[in-house]
Amino acid sequence: MTTEHQLTAENLSLGYKDRTVIEGLELAVAPGRVTAIVGANACGKSTLLRSMSRLLSPRAGQVLLDGKEVHKLPAKELARTLGLLPQSPLAPEGITVSDLVGRGRHPHQGVFSRWSVADDTAVAAALEATHTVELADRAVDELSGGQRQRVWIAMALAQETDLLLLDEPTTFLDVQHQVEVLDLLTDLNRSRGTTVVMVLHDLNLAARYCDHLVAIAGGKVHAAGRPCEVLTEDTVRAVFGLDSKVIIDPTSGGPLMLPIGRHHMVA
């Protein structure tokens, strides 16, 4: 259903003004898989995501999509292959869910083209996939945080891209909505073959929901691979400076990290 795309970063350096955040980073996103990027606060994981989606130009190195430099591709052409859901998108006051989701069709429309059947179908499919059909006529302002996040994902889906980048899609959500959103992204990956790359805060949820875990530290990829290879006590110490115990998650069989603080220890 979807074509597989190679998204890679080569010798990538990124920064803002006088501060360098990422330096000489190498990364290849696994096509057709779910990749989670984790790391300490301000380690540059969001910056990396922004750069992979053309929002930030690299200082050195390049981001390649199927061998072509992302920053040199025509904007709309790129937006038909690669979608981005940033951390805090804005919903205009009074906008309805269907209108918001419809705006995801932007890269498929020309200046003079009218709303097409393909647009209708894509929006309907996006609403169905995110279980927001019954919200279609509601105003986005009225929705709960979890519903709202599903609507934003629906907008990204209406864009019909083979790659979807999400910056902390679960922040500010209650745990049940976090799981709901991550389940939804997994559904997408499995049913449509969409390549998903997401920055996540919660290490355990990241390990549970991704096929490929990338840990960023010191402006570089510290470790990357299957969650059980990456989420180790050594990695947690190196990346977060935290002592921990990693056990087998009894529900998923994957790794589960338990932080060790200075208090509350079993004797």
Binding site: A75, L84, P86
Partner: protein, 347 residues
């Protein structure tokens, strides 16, 4: 969550927008404007009965009434055009800056256009109206960039209140510059009074023809930007993710809006608040989609400014009050209402 699949209706029905409501409002607006046009021709220092108006529209001009009508027709047309232009310009500035307080008057852009015209008249001997228009557009553009730059300084970038404050301060300064330029110049004082307070009283078809290409071009640019404005409304990152070239889209839409308010100011002087009030009202009627909002703002703005002009001729009979003053009376309380609302950042 999994139970939802069973009730999914077919795609088209789900996303169909409430076109009928919008169409209805459209017709209501058109009807109101038609009534206002008749009122605008009939009402004034001298009241003209409606049958005479119809005769005059048919071409007759042998009675005094019909001669009066000849003067009021261009005035009516200018009020409609200026109202439409200012309202669209305000809607676009609100979209570009995501700022609910944006308006070419509040942001000081109209005053910038005015100052440019006055300076051109006083020091550069501008004489043909076409050069007024160019000067006004240039002045509008410079003040728009200046206010945006000032409003963006400091923490948090161009927040709604900072932009409005920068605009108000700039506007106040520009008003005094205009006065300073005019005061020592008795020779031009009479010509330039209309660039201190906006009005449509001096309208002639000749001037309207001169400004029409600029208004047309500005309107076309703004309408073509509607879809980009829809993307920008979701935040710069989302817009860029949707394939919008954010800076270019913003620049282009602003250019269209600057042309509209600059050209309008060149012939009417600075008229404020139309660009503030109208888009907010229209958003309530047709929602935040700019493809609907811009044409509706044009229509409603035309009606509002015409109504203001008619009111200005009624309340001060046998004299008249300039529309710029009437719109300020309507707009200033509205401005305060928007500032006091908690959602001032949520556009």
């Amino acid at each position: 969550m999994s139970t939802v699949e069973s009730v999914t209706p077919s795609g088209a029905a789900v996303v169909r927008r409430p076109r009928r409501v919008r169409l209805l409002w459209f017709l209501v607006c058109l009807g109101l404007i038609a009534v206002l046009i008749v009122a605008s021709i009939a009402v004034g220092t001298r009241f003209v009965p409606v049958p005479t108006i119809l005769d005059a529209l048919g071409g007759a001009d042998d009675t005094l009434d019909q001669a009066v009508i000849r003067v009021r027709i261009p005035r009516t047309v200018l009020a409609l055009l200026a109202g439409a232009a200012l309202a669209v310009s305000g809607a676009v500035f609100q979209g570009v800056t995501r700022n609910p307080l944006a308006d070419p008057g509040i942001l000081g852009i109209n005053m910038g256009a005015s100052l440019a015209v006055v300076v051109g008249l006083a020091y550069f001997g501008l004489s043909n109206p076409n050069s007024y228009i160019w000067a006004a557009i240039a002045g509008a553009a410079i003040s728009a960039v200046f206010v945006y730059a000032i409003g963006s300084l400091g923490r948090g970038g161009p927040t709604p209140l900072k932009l409005a404050l920068a605009g108000a301060a700039t506007s106040a300064a520009l008003v005094s510059f205009v006065t300073a330029v005019i005061l020592p110049r008795n020779d031009i004082a009479e010509n330039v009074q209309s660039w201190q307070i906006g009005g449509v009283g001096g309208a002639t078809f000749e001037r309207i023809w001169q400004v029409l290409p600029f208004l047309g071009a500005g309107l076309a640019v703004c309408l073509l930007s509607a879809r980009s404005l829809n993307s920008l409304a979701l935040g710069d990152d989302v817009a860029a993710g949707l394939g919008e070239r954010v800076a270019i889209a913003r620049g282009l839409a602003s250019l269209g809006a600057v042309m509209l308010c600059g050209a309008t100011t060149a012939i009417c002087g600075p008229i404020g608040f139309v660009g503030l009030v109208v888009p907010h009202g229209c958003r309530l009627l047709v929602g935040p989609d700019h493809r609907w909002l811009l044409p509706f703002s044009a229509l409603t703005g035309a009606g509002l400014l015409l109504a203001a002009d008619v009111i200005g001729r009624i309340v001060a009979r046998p004299g008249e009050i300039d529309v710029g003053i009437i719109t300020a009376f309507v707009g200033a309380p509205f401005f305060i209402y928007i500032v006091r609302r908690q959602k001032v950042r949520a556009l």
